[in-house]
């Protein structure tokens, strides 16, 4: 199995929102960051992947299982943390763990209990009385206790304080290091994903804008300050994501994708001077990518 998650031509429509031809390929063993602004379609995509909503078209394959035909078999191997807490509030932490464990064939009660102690979750406290951070930890605990081959985390750290966020992500990374499980994590907290992901997919307005290894994602996008920039970059060996006046009379700034250093010659040939080539962090790349994709759609 090369990909833990594969979708082909996945589409969905609900009211004015539409998901169009999403083609995800999440390599097995990777930590895949699914990035997108609020309302881009991250949660909808996850709901479609896990059979919680019915797609209008396309095919889904999870861990080699066709969805929805083999959904229970796929779900038995997947740990899922939803965007909003879904555990029954009237149960205590220990009861919630027993309840959850009853449904999963590979539930590891002893390990789940050691995680509970590590997270400092009181066994006899009702779920409804847990703080937001404690609830976040419990959800991760339940997902990890299943010993899943694939973790699907929908904004798992949204709204959590930095300490809890670190605890949660450390637990996930420890588990991945131990088992080699695949993680599909959606977030709009770009900096957080930058530290842990090795693959990135970007979704915006229901379209998958980019999907590539994080190194390629970051290193290929540069901000270039130019003097005497050519008016039309039609024959450029890279993609211009955006260009704008840098405020100086003589200069322009371009954000380009697919940049390699020998491409400086292109500007020299066009009579321009490259003043500076700056690396962007993931958030800047993300913003530029969205800006360019929205411009292209328009």
């Amino acid at each position: 199995m090369r990909n833990a998650i594969e979708t082909r031509g996945l589409s969905y429509r609900a009211g004015s929102f539409e998901l169009r031809d999403v083609e995800l390929s999440v390599p097995a063993g990777s930590i895949y960051g699914f990035l997108g602004p609020n309302g881009a379609g991250k949660t909808t995509t996850i709901r479609l992947l896990l059979g919680m909503a019915r797609p209008a078209g396309g095919a889904i394959r999870l861990l080699g299982h066709e969805v929805p035909a083999e959904l229970p078999a796929a779900l038995a191997r997947i740990g899922y943390v939803p965007e909003r807490p879904h555990v029954y509030g009237a149960l205590t932490v220990a009861e919630a763990m027993r309840y959850h464990g009853a449904f999963w064939p590979d539930w590891d009660g002893a390990w789940a209990d050691s995680l509970r102690r590590r997270f400092d979750l009181p066994a006899d406290r009702r779920v409804s009385r847990l703080s937001k951070g404690e609830t976040g930890k419990l959800l991760i605990l339940l997902a990890l206790g299943q010993r899943p081959e694939l973790l699907v985390l929908d904004e798992p750290t949204d709204g959590l304080d930095p300490m809890v966020r670190r605890d949660v992500l450390t637990a996930v990374l420890d588990y991945v290091a131990e088992t080699g499980a695949t993680v599909f994590i959606s977030s709009h907290l770009v900096h957080e994903l930058e530290r842990i992901c090795d693959w990135v997919g970007v979704i915006d307005h229901g379209r998958l804008v980019a999907e590539l290894p994080i190194d390629a994602f970051k290193s290929g996008v540069k901000r270039i300050r130019l003097a005497g920039a050519p008016p039309e970059p039609s024959d450029a060996p890279f993609t211009v994501l955006s260009r704008f006046d840098d405020g100086l009379a003589t200069g322009e700034t371009w954000v380009v994708r697919g940049w390699q250093d020998p491409m400086r010659q292109y500007f020299t040939g066009a009579g321009a001077t490259v003043r500076d080539v700056v690396d962007l962090d993931l958030e800047e790349v993300f913003v530029e990518l969205l800006r360019s994709s929205r411009h292209a759609v328009r």
Partner: protein, 226 residues
């Protein structure tokens, strides 16, 4: 799995079950105590007991209906609150989850139903029945069980749907009853016939008349009878 489902069902419905359990135990007991008092104070004790029972009898099917509906709603409350996300993420076929949930609720209903039967027995034992009058605690208990189960099953099926589904269902029913009645009112004089069945007549025939599922609510609910 079922044991855990039962536990969660108990947690979500115990405060709903508690008043019903008290009422199920107390109503038949109270009915018989009242009947016993009337039998002692009125010249024709047999007739007095039957008259008191006729007053109390409609409360039993009402209690059964409310109990069934309340437990069904309580069983689904957690799922609706969490938009069914937890249930949908479980690695088992959905029909199996629904059946287990339904079974857990049905098992929980056994508690007030059992108490109703005990209350009926205690009530019958606590009163000296006048001559010519007989007690039917077992039959009434079975009738109560059946009525509760039917109310529970119907409410469980309705509550399983989304708000939108239930709203459309109710709108459809309303349109059928009101629209159908208007059509019957218009057609009857045009055709020159009388006594065409209205939608309410059809519903009554399908659901309440024998062998309709809700027929049990309209039968004999007397704890003591001739």
């Amino acid at each position: 799995m079922f044991q855990q489902m039962l536990l969660s069902g108990w947690r979500s419905s115990r405060w709903v079950l508690a008043p019903f359990a008290v009422a199920a135990l107390g109503l038949p007991l109270l009915a018989m105590r009242t009947a016993g008092t009337a039998a002692r104070e009125i010249y024709a004790p047999g007739q007095a007991v039957l008259m008191v029972m006729e007053v109390w009898a409609p409360l039993f099917p009402a209690l059964a209906a409310l109990l069934g509906i309340a437990v069904a709603l309580a069983m689904w409350s957690w799922d609706h609150g969490g938009r069914h996300v937890y249930a949908l993420s479980l690695p088992l076929p959905r029909w199996r989850y629904v059946l287990m949930k339904m079974g857990a609720g049905a098992a929980l209903i056994g508690l007030p139903v059992g108490l109703f039967w005990i209350g009926s027995l205690m009530g019958v034992w606590s009163v000296d029945l006048p001559e010519g009058v007989r007690a039917y605690p077992l039959a009434l208990g079975l009738r109560f069980l059946l009525a509760t189960a039917i109310a529970y099953a119907a409410a469980f099926a309705l509550a399983a749907g989304t708000k939108r589904t239930v709203t459309w269902l109710l709108i459809g029913l309303l349109v059928f009853v009101v629209g159908g009645s208007l059509i019957v009112d218009v057609i009857q004089p045009l055709l020159g016939v009388d006594g065409l069945p209205t939608p309410l007549d059809l519903l009554d025939a399908a659901l309440i008349d024998w062998p309709g599922p809700f027929h049990v609510f309209g039968g004999n609910w007397m704890l003591v009878d001739v």
